[in-house]
């Protein structure tokens, strides 16, 4: 339209209509796909064997300011609850001590995942070519910052107001001492950020978020609430509202590569590897945190796992992607077996290594033992009687000079670390499916506990050669390791970690550990 005609039209229009007009977010978003342009060197810095389509759309059509408005509203509700009513009722001091300890781990380890997801979705933002898809990933980058801050807020809140601040107040420093940390890094850190960009998306969005954050972020709120913790549901359910966008991003990632030839060749293998990677850690660790880290139980972990992982994810969610050639992972059947016993096996090892934790851990009480036996028949003969023996030998009492780790050594049950998952396992004393496999590579021995991890190793050993805690601590005395890893309370002598949460129980000190003279050795060297 010629300028003069346009001007006249504007004036005429305004003469009859001066209604207030604004611009909605969707009116801007609809132009977003045209915000980019082609140029010669326009390519991603992170290679992928898949080709993401240029016209991929996003499902959550947000612009920057609308994103901020939406998140701000959620923040107001969440921080309002935390800082007002929950503080006034002294809620942090009305949480069962066992659960208080679990939240030291759960919140901090989830924070690790959220933090690494910032970098992961930064990589996907770079890899995608469609502006809408980039925008979806950008929204997730911002969400992951939010969630990192939120998880930190849980530890911050418990430290400031709760019954035992130690561990909550320095989890980012002390978490690296113990046996659960390296496995956490594999699933929630490096697994999200190091590799083919789409492979990382599958790890993060298609498996991590669509599968395991449901039990980790949603189911955990029921356990928290039952045990008196209303802070965690307040924060985690707010986090979960953003996770829907992330699942949609994962879905769109698959849609964007669906027509690419590479997808038919590699997608299901990548999905299987990602699923096994994630489940190898989360199946035992989440089950352990829920069941052994709580006083009041909601339901057996195996039921939760079956509902969220096997039926909802393996069946419905993956089923929806079936039209794009996605199949349920071949390893799902083996994972289902792990869901029954693996967390019981891991708890034995975690308890045996309690001095290296940054939280207090508790042996099952008599009523809990009954509950385990009722839900996992055969539990007592395998685990319960051992815990009775440990308790009889004074494992909770610092004067006893007994660490459960000694029981494994005395009975010739070496604890190995699976090289690919970094999860500890004891092949000679377990009810789960772990079997010892040892391979040599680059002049070193490497142990594995299952065929799926071993396959990943055999394909690309250079990706998983990470040193494990036995190799790191070889020849070191336990109290030295604790001191070096800052595993002490503010009095400089009492351990953060303790083998009980009994309020009348005596606390272990560094001197108690020194007296035992426990020296680490790498079991692979004995083979």
């Amino acid at each position: 339209m010629a300028i003069s005609a346009a001007t006249k039209a504007a004036t005429d229009a305004l003469a009859v209509n001066r209604a207030p007009v604004s611009v909605g977010a969707q009116e801007v978003h609809r132009w977003m796909q045209s915000f980019t342009w082609d140029f010669e060197k326009n390519r991603t810095k992170y290679s992928t064997k898949y080709k993401m389509a240029n016209d991929t759309k996003e499902q959550f059509k947000l612009i920057a300011k609308e994103y901020a408005r939406m998140e701000s509203v959620k923040d107001e509700r969440q921080f309002g609850s935390l800082q007002d009513v929950l503080t006034r009722v002294d809620a942090a001091n009305r949480v069962h001590p066992k659960w208080n300890e679990s939240m030291k781990v759960i919140s901090n380890f989830l924070e690790v995942g959220e933090y690494n997801a910032i970098a992961a979705t930064g990589m996907l933002w770079d890899s995608a070519t469609a502006p809408e898809q980039k925008n979806g990933y950008l929204g997730q980058v911002m969400d992951e910052i939010r969630h990192t801050n939120q998880c930190g807020y849980i530890n911050y809140y418990f430290a400031k107001q709760g019954q035992d601040a130690a561990g909550h107040n320095d989890a980012r420093r002390t978490r690296a001492i113990g046996p659960l940390w390296k496995g956490m890094k594999r699933v929630f850190s490096d697994g999200f950020i190091s590799g083919d960009a789409v492979e990382c998306s599958i790890n993060l969005q298609l498996v991590g978020e669509a599968c395991f954050t449901n039990p980790l972020i949603v189911a955990v709120t029921e356990w928290a609430s039952a045990n008196g913790d209303e802070m965690t549901p307040t924060v985690f359910l707010s986090i979960e509202t953003d996770e829907l966008r992330h699942m949609a991003n994962g879905y769109q990632t698959v849609v964007s590569i669906a027509n690419d030839e590479a997808a038919s060749k590699y997608l299901n293998t990548d999905l299987n590897n990602a699923f096994w990677t994630q489940q190898k850690y989360f199946t035992p660790v989440l089950g352990m945190m829920f069941e052994y880290g709580s006083h009041f139980k909601v339901e057996p972990w195996v039921k939760t796992w079956n509902r969220w992982v096997y039926e909802d994810w393996g069946g419905i969610w993956i089923g929806r992607l079936g039209k794009y050639g996605v199949q349920s992972p071949a390893s799902l059947r083996d994972a289902k077996k792990d869901a029954y016993w693996a967390h019981h096996d891991l708890f034995m090892i975690a308890y045996a290594l309690w001095p290296t934790g940054f939280f207090r851990v508790t042996l099952p009480t008599a009523e809990e033992a009954e509950w385990y036996e009722a839900n996992y028949p055969g539990w007592y003969d395998m685990y319960g009687k051992v815990y009775d023996e440990w308790r009889a030998r004074g494992c909770e009492d610092p004067d006893s000079g007994f660490l459960p780790l000694q029981w494994f050594i005395e009975n010739n049950h070496p604890i190995y670390i699976d090289r690919v998952s970094q999860v500890p396992f004891c092949p000679s004393y377990c009810k789960g499916a772990s079997t010892l496999r040892v391979l040599e590579y680059n002049g070193k021995k490497h142990s594995f506990s299952d065929q799926w991890g071993e396959r990943m190793w055999l394909s690309e050993p250079e990706r998983y050669e990470c040193q494990n805690i036995w190799e790191q601590y070889e020849g070191r005395e336990l109290s030295e390791v604790i001191t070096e890893g800052h595993g002490l309370r503010s009095d400089g002598k009492t351990l953060i970690s303790q083998p009980h949460t009994n309020k009348d129980g005596k606390m272990w000190t560094l001197d108690d550990i020194k007296k035992i003279n426990c020296v680490f050795s790498d079991p692979l060297k004995a083979l």
Partner: protein, 392 residues
């Protein structure tokens, strides 16, 4: 009672559960140190909430300076490249976690500000339209300058936005990773605000083209943005060093080209052409510029240039990067001078002396805020003279 509870019973409010929980709770707190991250060195006198919630979330081992972890990466890229590595940048630091956003904005504070800006934008647009302000806008300014060239500038902002993706992936510090994401979001917000303005004008002015086709054509094929397009593409896709991306974008290109285009062209001139709409949006962009400047000068001046161990080396590298990116930015500005031939000249406003004065303000600011702190010698008069050769 059974330890298995069902039906959504809550330990805080259910009297039976609550009694059992309270009986297990220690009589006194077990730990007196209640400050999270108590072990860290705060930027100010005390550890603030931003530092509690953001610092040391980065799980890097201690061989990446600042890291608290140990050992190797548990999974690496195909071929064995590490997850994060010192080699990802030529800059050196004795503590990659030292950076702080001077405004101490963690996520909740950041989105709260932007949400308020969005609500205020909505109210402003309604008032502006109801008041009939658009009638006073010069038609050439509106249809050509805002329709075409402001729209084209949106692509510069969008390209810079995209340059942050690899910074968010690769950088070695937690606070910087979060700051970089926020800077990136601000840049795409700028691009979107430009489209908001164009969509808004299309609603008020029948025939005003809302489509991005003409601006994109101007950006990709026109001569006015040729230099800037090339710089943006180089920052976005040809630069792999994440520090260099931030430095070239926010210490050279945007403080010079971006500042001239936003502040000295669109914002300063708009009122002379009856446009009170554009400054509303540009002022938001300038706020973001100011916040970004705080972030990047903290990183490059307060942290890297002042690093006790590597400061001298880092300053030399910054000067080398300035040598690389400054000429390209000068070319961008020179090309942009062509825009003045497209608008009706206003004496003392858009004539050569006024343009020279505007360039003087931008270059003086840049010299004072960005060049002098790293001892970068620059003849701003000569640079302005070069830019002015672009006037038609």
């Amino acid at each position: 009672m059974s330890i298995e509870v069902s039906g959504g019973r809550r330990g805080l409010t259910d009297p039976v559960l609550a009694a059992e929980i309270m009986a297990a709770i220690p009589d006194q707190p077990l730990e007196t140190q209640r400050k999270m991250n108590y072990f860290m060195t705060p930027r100010g006198k005390r550890i603030n909430e931003y530092e509690v919630l953001c610092c040391y979330t980065q799980p890097t081992p201690d061989w990446i300076p600042g890291g608290l972890d140990w050992g190797d990466w548990t999974q690496k890229f195909h071929g064995g490249r590490p997850s994060w590595s010192n080699e990802s940048t030529e800059m050196r630091s004795s503590d990659w976690l030292k950076h702080r956003d001077p405004a101490f904005r963690w996520h909740a504070l950041y989105v709260k500000d932007k949400a308020e800006e969005w609500r205020y934008t909505d109210r402003f647009l309604k008032a502006y339209s109801a008041d009939g302000h658009v009638r006073s806008m010069d038609p050439v300014w509106r249809d050509e300058v805002l329709g075409d060239y402001l729209g084209a500038f949106g692509f510069s902002e969008y390209g810079l936005f995209n340059s942050h993706s690899s910074v968010v992936r690769d950088c070695l510090g937690d606070t910087l990773r979060m700051s970089s994401a926020m800077i990136g979001l601000d840049k795409v917000d700028n691009a979107q605000m430009i489209q908001i303005e164009r969509t808004f004008l299309a609603k008020l002015v029948p025939g005003f083209p809302e489509s991005t086709d003409i601006p994109k054509n101007e950006w990709t094929k026109g001569v006015i943005f040729k230099g800037s397009r090339e710089v943006v593409q180089q920052i976005w896709q040809e630069t792999y060093d994440w520090n260099e991306i931030l430095f070239s974008g926010h210490m050279i290109y945007d403080p010079l080209f971006g500042q001239f285009v936003r502040r000295e062209f669109f914002s300063r001139l708009s009122s002379y052409y009856g446009d009170t709409l554009t400054p509303f949006f540009i002022n938001q962009m300038q706020l973001y510029f100011s916040q970004t400047k705080g972030i990047t000068t903290d990183m490059f001046h307060t942290c890297l240039a002042a690093d006790e161990q590597f400061g001298d080396y880092n300053i030399r590298l910054m000067r080398a990067w300035a040598d690389k990116w400054l000429p390209r930015t000068i070319t961008s500005l020179k090309d942009f001078m062509g825009i003045f031939s497209k608008i009706p000249e206003i004496k003392g406003v858009s004539d050569k002396p006024a343009i020279e004065a505007a360039l003087g303000r931008v270059f003086d600011d840049w010299k004072h805020d960005f060049a002098d702190p790293i001892g970068y010698k620059v003849d701003t008069a000569a640079l302005i003279k070069t830019v002015l050769t672009g006037l038609k």
